[in-house]
Symmetry: C2
Subunit: 532 residues, 2 copies
């Protein structure tokens, strides 16, 4: 049979930008700027000079950069596995992930040399080290064989990458749970290509706002080591749009790049949006024309309103490390944009499933609950881009995929328009006298108070009720508020019958800061330990 | 391994509209109107009552209807093959295609009963006939076992469709070449899902105009039997948009549907656009807010300008029956829309490849030619949705896929922005003294004259030059023009050095009408025969 069967491979995402958008730019801070033709040449140079075999693993420790983008393509295109290392983990966790994934080659940015030194003696499989630097680095220190630019200079810009099975593993990275070691998830070429296509279709066909199209300028503000920066570097490259990589996140640099490079589309966690809005307020600039998708944690209503007030088109997305990650988007439907307050409530939701995602809210027997906006259960999914398990961990894989659906560990409900409302993490839910209280809903209500900078609500043990809610509140500098004022919107909602009456049991604790995980999420596990 | 592997199946295109757009409408002329929930129920009813086994073939002869949309889903979702029958073929050709595809079941609209009667005795494999009708049809005439609505009434609206191999054949239909029998092409579930995703991503992310998004209203004006109406019924359904099916094409009905149902997006061949524009001019209505993609034949500049003048956002697309069909789109890039005349020249081009399409213009050795807008050769492609051959025809399949690329039989060139300019069919090109003359370019120049209704340029044998161009021109009613005036823009372009001087050899013949193929394309084979 002479027909070409066309396996779905990451290299094919480059086909149309290299024909249609050769002059489009890729920018790295104020340090580097080149076109897609050069991107392809540097991918060829990297692939031809890295010296890895199919099936080997190449780990990368870098800030968001053009180099990382090159690695997103060149390493999988060799049939090797790209391991994106979470540089915010502890040294013990990082060395665990590198040994567990059996990394053969390690690319390290010079900023992480002290970190590397702290664990390099414990590395069991790494054979070769490549130094990443924004500066010239003529004399590479041990253990580095070479630096990245020297490596590329010796490579072949026209290197041809082979075809192979589309189910070949392309990427791996580790997600930190609440207990035990980090767990490895992994994605194939086929999965990443399908995620790219479906996400491009979903963002592109957005009916009212929040669209990502071929005239946008993209900049990540979720790290590239974190679930492929939500897959956006692949989407942006396939579409041939201008891309801006900001290096280490510094709010003033991010703001400058948004303004000077004309960035129109980003994604980040609520904490970073919070920092950016503060920086914008300080600099007295607006964010008109900037679209930003928020994920990783729930988007508080107050934060979303603050972003809208500055002109940003903000909305939530939903997904996990295990899901590549995009599952659903809080885009508005025609008609939903008219009532501003109703629209705000839609924007902060987990959103509607993107094409091909089979999303269900289920009861304990994995039977689907009605789409009535009330019936609450665990969110389970099928999609063509979900990790097929945890690396070298059969027991955890079986739990993840119990009953043939991936269990997100989130609970929520869905309404008749398909809108998913995630009300809690299964493990964070507060069980008060046998009823579920949504910590996220309580947080969102408290966050609307103008004095509140951040809030986390956890369940603390209570002899009478089992658990009762406790709000840990950080106030804004120079603002004051008492517990009574913060409790007021919650009590009102109880009066209206829209919250269980146990919500009245909520305690308010004022704190100076909230504990966070390595990726910047609120660490409720630590909060519960301190409360316990 | 408990993980769900997720084969790419047509049924999965229904997942998100059934969760997110249950109340959206599907309209059939002025005869029927229902929501997506009902669509799913009717698909279930059809699938459960049709009584076909996986691997069997169900052929359909209908105008564009909600029934056809139901067949697009239910039949492949059973693991059976949907054969879309070209009702414009001759009876001999239709019976050939039904026997060749070994159709087991045949669904026939009552309008085609005389046609069916003319060939039914020659059908070799059809076991069961189902009657399609817009009216009640209580007493089914022989050979019909039942009518469609009676069948559905006895079916199960909740019928569950099984999973199976994504490479299972989903559709087949026949394309008429210039010689011999019609040839069968075929597409798998995987191919149709990938075509749907990539096309949705391409149309959705359109940077300036011509976008298809989730707030559009879709109506086909390329028949559903012709390359799945360009795959749009699948795209529109996946996106959950309002769909309007117009039945048999009647320009006044089409216009009414566009206006009364708020249709914003269609696709058709130039001939139909021509008819619609005439009807709009007669009815003194404009087409503002209506986007229309033109394919099947080249889009003449004069016709495109006439559409723009009436307010339509018109542009070309490119593809073949063999390619599912979409390969490229003549969407404008930012900056290209500013100069109106330049923009018009871009809109009528075959366009830029959509994601994952590996499109090349090659020389006789299948080596790629430079993207210089001049170097002309055959267009060859790879994509994840191309027919893997011709049904039961190994020799033709091998020719189609010679060298591992699908040969389109079109010649053209490509510029530095990726824009493909198809200059001719390989078989229609005019070879004048060893040089290639583009019949399409000559046609486009002549079509700009206000008196010209239609034009076809063919090569006719010439003793001295090998071939010389002959233009067959149909003038508009009430208009006059002489050969000198029509020849003028061609001669001017020769003077400017933008056309080979052999273009001056063009003869002009005025004719009353032009011969067409069964799908409404100009039939140059017949013209050459008459000229020969």
């Amino acid at each position: 049979m002479p027909a070409y069967a066309y396996p779905l491979l990451i290299k094919q995402l480059l086909l149309t930008p290299l024909a249609n958008a050769t002059e489009q730019e890729i920018v790295y801070r104020d340090k580097s700027r080149y076109d897609y033709r050069t991107l392809r040449e540097r991918i060829g140079r990297l692939g031809s000079s890295l010296g890895v075999m199919p099936g080997q693993t190449v780990a990368v420790m870098d800030w968001d950069s053009h180099r990382y983008l090159e690695c997103f393509f060149a390493i999988p295109m060799l049939g090797a596995v790209l391991q994106t290392v979470n540089v915010r983990l502890s040294p013990e966790q990082i060395v665990y992930t590198l040994n567990h994934a059996r990394a053969d080659v390690l690319l390290v940015h010079e900023d992480f040399l002290p970190l590397l030194e702290s664990f390099s003696a414990q590395l069991e499989t790494v054979q070769r080290f490549v130094l990443l630097s924004d500066a010239e680095f003529p004399d590479c220190p041990a253990p580095f064989a070479t630096d990245y630019e020297t490596l590329l200079a010796g490579g072949d810009p026209d290197h041809e990458f082979p075809d192979f099975d589309e189910n070949t593993r392309a990427t791996t990275f580790y997600t930190t749970g609440t207990t035990g070691h980090p767990k490895g998830v992994y994605f194939s070429h086929r999965q990443l290509v399908l995620h790219t296509l479906a996400a491009a279709a979903a963002f592109g066909t957005a009916p009212v706002q929040g669209r990502f199209g071929r005239s946008d300028v993209y900049m990540p503000i979720t790290p590239m080591f974190h679930v492929h920066a939500w897959g956006f570097p692949y989407i942006a490259t396939m579409l041939g749009v201008k891309q801006v990589y900001p290096g280490r996140y510094q709010p003033d640099v991010l703001l400058q790049l948004i303004r000077h490079e004309g960035v129109t589309f980003s994604h980040c966690v609520p904490t970073l949006l919070h920092m950016l809005l503060s920086a914008a307020q300080t600099a007295e600039v607006t964010l008109h024309g900037w679209k930003v998708v928020i994920g990783g944690s729930a988007l508080p209503k107050g934060l979303a309103q603050a972003a809208l007030d500055l002109g940003a088109d903000v909305y939530a997305g939903y997904g996990l490390s295990e899901t590549c990650p995009i599952l659903s988007l809080g885009l508005l439907e025609p008609g939903e944009a008219e009532d501003e307050d109703a629209a705000l409530s839609r924007r902060i939701r987990a959103g509607r499933a993107i094409p091909l995602v089979d999303m269900r809210v289920v009861d304990d027997t994995v039977a689907e609950l009605p789409h009535d906006g009330v019936s609450t259960g665990e969110v389970v999914v099928r999609a063509p881009w979900l990790t097929q398990g945890y690396l070298h961990d059969e027991a955890a894989s079986a739990t993840l995929w119990e009953g043939g659906y991936l269990h997100t560990g989130d609970i929520g409900n869905r309404d008749a328009t398909g809108m998913l409302n995630v009300t809690d993490r299964l493990k964070d839910v507060i069980k008060c006298s046998g009823e579920w209280l949504s910590s996220l809903e309580l947080e969102s209500l408290i966050s609307e108070h103008p004095a509140v900078s951040e809030v986390a609500v956890i369940g603390v043990p209570d002899e009478k009720w089992g658990e009762r809610p406790r709000a840990m509140v950080v106030l804004k500098d120079g603002y004051e508020a008492d517990a009574h004022a913060l409790r007021e919107p919650v009590n009102r909602r109880v009066d209206e019958g829209r919250l269980p009456r146990y919500a009245r049991l909520m305690e308010i604790h004022f704190v100076a800061a909230l504990p966070r995980t390595s990726v910047g999420k609120l660490d409720k596990k630590v909060m519960r330990q301190h409360a316990g």
